[in-house]
Each structure stands twice: as structure tokens, then as C-alpha cells.
Symmetry: C2
Amino acid sequence: MYDLLRAHILKRVNLTDEEFARCTTFFVPRKLRKNQFLLREGEVCTSLAFVVKGCLRCYSVDDNGEEHIVQFAIEDWWISDPYSALTREPSEYTIDALEDSELLLLEKSAEQRLLQEIPKFERLFRLLLENRFVANQRRIAATLSTSAEERYLSFLRSYPAIAQRVPQSQIASYLGITPQSLSRIRKGLSEKG
Amino acid sequence: MYDLLRAHILKRVNLTDEEFARCTTFFVPRKLRKNQFLLREGEVCTSLAFVVKGCLRCYSVDDNGEEHIVQFAIEDWWISDPYSALTREPSEYTIDALEDSELLLLEKSAEQRLLQEIPKFERLFRLLLENRFVANQRRIAATLSTSAEERYLSFLRSYPAIAQRVPQSQIASYLGITPQSLSRIRKGLSEKG
DNA sequence: CGATTTTTTGAATCATATCAACGTACGTGG
DNA sequence: CCACGTACGTTGATATGATTCAAAAAATCG
């Protein structure tokens, strides 16, 4: 259960075995069935989730009731609404499971104690946030400058593991196009070769 | 020169006068003429800039040579490429001045010493990063779900001060549309009332 | 297997881009 | 102080890419 987390952390900061053992005590395992919610729009996000198994999505719902996916998370990724978690304001996002999933949850209060006990985690969490920030910045630049087809190809390159397992309609939502358009783009690509 | 910075920081974390006085020693004033660069694509970003006066932009250049603005920064804002600063990888972005500007620069090395001397700044910088993260996430959701006209109106609401002072073509670049389209959108809006 | 969801396809429509030309404002040097 | 050049903004005509609505085909699940 904790092996993936250990490897994940050790790739980013140095921890002794003893430190890692202490760190695990702050996480709470949680299973989520497909379609179950981790966070509902309007709730305050109180935890940071590390995905051990499965696949989740984070999305907003617009005035027309359409879902717009801002992030997927599979094994070895984190998911949460960091803004809601920090400010304790209700989240604008919903997080749910696209597959049966296993998570390790770090509650806000546990996070604070963890940071006090092992300050190295400050650096880890800052790294994680920076990475997410960069990913978003790249995505903005891509959305502004490239066609839907290019964005789809870029998505396939960046996240092949996700592309294989989530429904096409979910990828369309992530790319900001309709499922019909994605279908046509794929058709066009397969005709080219 | 430092009044704006003081007010900015005190709004977010508690600092004694003595702490603030020490903090200022880590910043270096820098003036930038209109069109001068703070960071060029391919350079490593080594500083975090607080804008005391003026207006800057951060943008990427795509394969067709088109600029895509990911951020503006006016008085009381910060600007940098946090990813490049953290990883020391060359930046994909260019930062330059849209007006004659005055900055307070916090170099990477100074930042580290500042964080050691006054750990409260850990929280400040994390807050700043979270805010930028959220702004980006909102922008992604908006780009995915709303028309150019809606995004323009939302930009006017969110950043009236910027809308007033930067050329329309720069706003178009930020919104991900052509200057011609923005012109037509504005025409449409003025005809409505 | 049947039921439901997901994907594909077609036709009409809409939003934005593109190319090209013209208008306007501003600042600099003569 | 005016004239000129350069940036910026507007407008028109046309092209393109993506959407919408509707329906059929394919895949998935109990």
C-alpha cells in the first residue's frame, strides 16, 4: 500500500526509513468505487489525496451543466483542490472516481502536524504545487495556440496511460471540445496514417 | 519604494517592523524601460520580481512566431517563471515591460537566505503560488467553457486596471483570439449598450 | 441476451481566423 | 509646430474548424 508513496517521495526528497515510517502514520487509506465522490462542489476540500490505484478526475460544471475536466489523476499522482484546502472556501470543483480506486488521504490537520515533525515535506509539497502550476501554464499556452487536433496528439504523448483508460468523452472534456469533434479528429488522424 | 511591498506582505503574514526591515535587505531595486526584458526564452529564471510601478507581461512564442500571454503584472503583483526558478531549467517564457517599470527583485540565493532568516516567508510564497495556481485553473475552465466575448467581459471584470492600460492586441493575445476578433467583439458589445 | 452508454456519422449552422485594406493616433525629427 | 512614419485599431469578404441536433452503429455491462 505504501510502497508507491515511498518511491514517489524518495524521488523528490531524501527521507530516512524512520522518517518515512513516521510519515505514513499521517495518511489514511480510503477506497472509492467508480463514480463515488471525493469532493463535491460547494464542500471545503480538507485533504490531499495520493492515488495508489485507479483513476480520478477533477472538474467544474458550467452554467449549462457541462463538465470541464481540469485534471485527471492515476497511480502515483496527487489530487485535491489546493485553493479550497488553503483558504477553507467552498470548492468550485468536483472530484470523483472514473474507476474503483485506492487513495492515501492526508487530512489538513495531519498535514500541519506532518510539516512540523518533518519539515522536509515543505519542500515536497512546494515541488508538487510548482509542478501542477507548470502543467497548467503549459496547458493554457497550448489551448491558446494550438488546434484541437494538436492538443489531442499532445495529450496522447503526455499522458498515454490516461488516454488508454478513460472514455473518449472524458478526454474531449479535458481538451475543451465535444465528443463528436474528437471522434472526427480521430477519424482524420487514422485516415492520414 | 518599499511601502507597497510592506503593505502587500502585511496583508498576508504578520511581520514585525524589524523583520520587515531585514527582509528589505534581500531585495534589489531594478528599473526597466518599456520593451526591455526581464527574462528571455532559454534563460534560467533566477529571480522573483515584485512590481512597484509599471506593467510587465510573460508570454510564450509558438512555432508560428505568435506570442501568447500567460500573465500580466502591474503594481502590487509578482512575476517570474517559478518552474524555471525551481528546476534551473531554461525558461520557455519571455518576460518584458509594457511600460517603464520599477521592480524589487528577489534573487534565488537571497530568497533562500530570506527563508532561513524569516521562515514566515515560506507561508507567504506558498500563498502566492497557490493564488497563481488558482488563477490559472480558473482560466483553463473559462477557456474550455466560454465564448471569446464572455472571456473578454470576465477579463474586464477581473482586471479592470490592466484592461485600461495595455494595448488591445495584448488583451487579445491573453484571451487567445486575434486582435481583429477582439475589435469585432467590442463593436458588438457597444452596439448592445 | 437485452439495456444502456459510448462512439460515429451526416447536415446545417455558428464563431473565429485569415487576408487585405483602410483609418486613426501618437511621437519624433526636420 | 507640422509632416511623416509607425503602431494600433477597424472593417469587409471569405474560409475554416468546431458545434449542434439528430440518428445510427458499436461497445459495455448486468
